[in-house]
Subunit: 415 residues, 2 copies
């Protein structure tokens, strides 16, 4: 007799299927391809010297190095949590180190929040399109996805009000130039959204992965900052009876480097207490050494380093928007992101993103990500995601030019 | 209106309650207490110089440092997986890098296996007592615990056969001087256990956290090595049709250092494929930098370093067994571990471990962990766990002497 593993697995595990994006990334790692697929930071701009110095500094200190390699508390390295609280205070967010939990990137925050809130069949509201990694994290817990359209005009607030009316475990969204849309929510929409959340008592999960990468325009207050400012002074976020509605996910992956795997979640006390216990049961704590290094590095360079990153990525975004404007045939539209790493394009309805990708790799050696995967309902077949973060400006122009040529050819043949 | 968070949480989250051991550890961090509570490595023996050199080496190499800080594959750093496969081959375990997944310590392996296999009400078999961290990880997925007694004579094989007959999602155990029991399963029991697993097609999760810390006696082959040797040559573990029944959890936390958070799981191909997808959805991958450092360090020092650790901890175990023999009153019994970090003691039935701890901290300034938490059925009230890994031999004698005096006094008063 042999084990039939699929019979052995829990029902939730059947939701685990390979990510199209990840599988794709494995195939296009060839030098002659211009790839707009990987929405990841450019390693040319990681702060290597600061990091090397921070590791060396900790190993040179007998007390610090012992702490750095030993088991630690699940909440995360206290000085790092304090630094985050102080740093966010400068951005108008009134929080407290006790409400901050350090996790393995904000991806782990999403997975934990799925595990904390979602039972089979529970309604959760996500944007259409939404970050694929969030959908992967949530899907394990078998939710019913309810979608609200997100486009250049922001969120469909009427649809949101309708869905809030019906109830949901939470709303998840990325308010600032999110992956994949690049769209930013206006202050008015944020306030209206929070009003709705309070009216229906529905938690809002705010993903701020790209928040530091704003290239122009004024920063819009985060949902958490709006939430903490409306909380009564007698019950701030750290008060067990605080009525905060926003759960905030942050990360150093885009502002410093991803592979230390350090992100965080900020939540009202009853939520963060559960998440700390979840962290303990899941993997005890984030690497103490890495947390200590991150604390050293961000204290020193967060502002100067992210300013440098903004200059680099702004030039790439500008190159991409200029090239799209210059080369794309009529019928193709795209978002104009104020920050982040992505431009989201809508093709003429007769075009399929996945088919276009296959043709584009074969004929033009240009890669991007087809959009359907970002829609829980698998609509958006005629959308594609461009990431400009990894490609120098001159190559961006060349890549967009080639892809535009291909789209023109296909459209002409279909006409 | 305010959010009633407990109404919002999924049912599984209500299982999350504070670990008694962790809460306890927060209280006893006072210099005058002799603590046998924390079952963690002694930081005096972490390989600081080798680690510092490995971090410096990676940052000095432009290609390596870029890889070290960038997003990476969820499977884990390939050279580290290859090293583990080669190292285990020297211990008689025939496996393959493709069947190895790097995780945030073996704790994450346990959490993932709970998530992979357990649906609400599913039967899983654990030893009585069992590793508390495993019970915490599994409990989130709402299993029905079935327990099989583990004591100085090993596993209750009759009870195991009876429970296997009724079916279960898996059996979880630590065959070598586990936490908390310190007991080692004989080769005969391992073979019989595997025969039963094959007969009833029940996966066996083997936790090998302490495997490198054997102080005397000959190593007993791991369950995975017995499993891979009985697999047909035409279907080794890496074959998708392999009939392997054992899932092996390993870690560097006890042999090198815990806070890099690096462990691994080895499983038949259909299982490891699901676990890789789970890793991707959960937190993408373990810190690449830490994996590269661990790869540098273990290549260089795994044998010499663990030999040193064995000398240190052997002396402490010997001191603890000698002190127990010298001071403990009649009616107290304890295990004689061949390795690991723990001695498990059974008190006279009228004594309660938790009450003894309270008295012991107050009167004798000695700490340990009451045993009940390690029993899913909360039996074992008259058991306690001693960890000897953090205490120098002379303090061990003093601590045992004081506690023995207290037990003697309480027993005399009760008689």
């Amino acid at each position: 007799m042999t084990i039939d593993w699929n019979d052995t697995f829990a029902k939730r595990a059947l939701k685990l299927t390979a990510s199209e994006i990840r599988e794709l990334l494995k195939l296009i790692n060839q030098p002659d391809i211009i790839s707009f697929a990987g929405g990841i930071p450019d390693p040319a701009f990681f702060p290597y010297d600061n990091m090397a110095a921070a590791y060396a500094k900790i190993f040179a200190d007998p007390k610090k190095r012992a702490e750095a390699l030993q088991y630690s508390i699940s909440e995360g390295y206290t000085p790092l949590r304090q630094w985050i609280a102080e740093h966010l205070a400068t951005l108008g967010i009134a929080t407290h180190a006790d409400n901050i939990l350090i996790l393995n990137g904000s991806q782990q925050a999403l997975e934990f929040l799925g595990k904390l809130f979602i039972g089979p069949g529970d309604r959760i509201i996500v944007t259409n399109p939404a970050y694929l990694g969030a959908l992967q994290a949530f899907s394990l817990y078998e939710p019913e996805y309810v979608t609200v359209t997100l486009d250049e005009t922001g969120l469909d607030m009427k649809a949101l009000a309708r869905e809030f009316e019906k109830g949901a475990k939470f709303l998840y969204l990325t308010p600032d130039f999110g992956n994949p849309s690049g769209v930013t929510l206006s202050l008015e929409q944020r306030k209206a959204l929070l009003d709705l959340a309070y009216r229906h008592n529905i938690p809002v999960i705010e993903d701020t992965a790209y928040e530091k990468l704003r290239y122009d325009g004024a920063a819009v207050p985060s949902l958490l900052s709006l939430d903490t400012s409306r909380l009564n002074e007698s019950a701030p976020l750290s008060d067990p009876t605080s009525n905060g509605h926003v759960i905030y996910c942050g990360t150093f992956s885009k502002s410093i480097a991803p592979a230390l795997r350090i992100g965080w979640v900020i939540a009202p006390t009853p939520v963060v207490q559960k998440l700390v216990l979840m962290k303990q049961a899941s993997d005890l704590h984030v690497s103490t050494l890495n947390q200590m290094v991150m604390h050293e590095v961000v204290q020193e360079i967060i502002d100067s380093h992210t300013a440098k990153l903004r200059d680099v990525y702004r030039a790439r975004r500008d190159a991409m928007l200029a090239a799209l404007e210059k080369y794309m045939p009529a019928g193709v539209t795209w978002t104009k992101p104020e920050g982040g790493m992505f431009v989201w394009a809508t093709l003429p309805p007769h075009l399929d993103g996945a088919a276009l990708l296959a043709a584009s790799i074969e004929k033009e050696r240009v890669a991007f990500v087809p959009g359907a995967a970002f829609f829980p309902d698998r609509s958006g077949r005629n959308t594609i995601r461009f990431a400009f973060s990894l490609v120098p400006p001159e190559k961006i122009e060349e890549g967009v030019k080639r892809l535009a040529r291909l789209i023109g050819e296909i459209s002409a043949a279909a006409a």
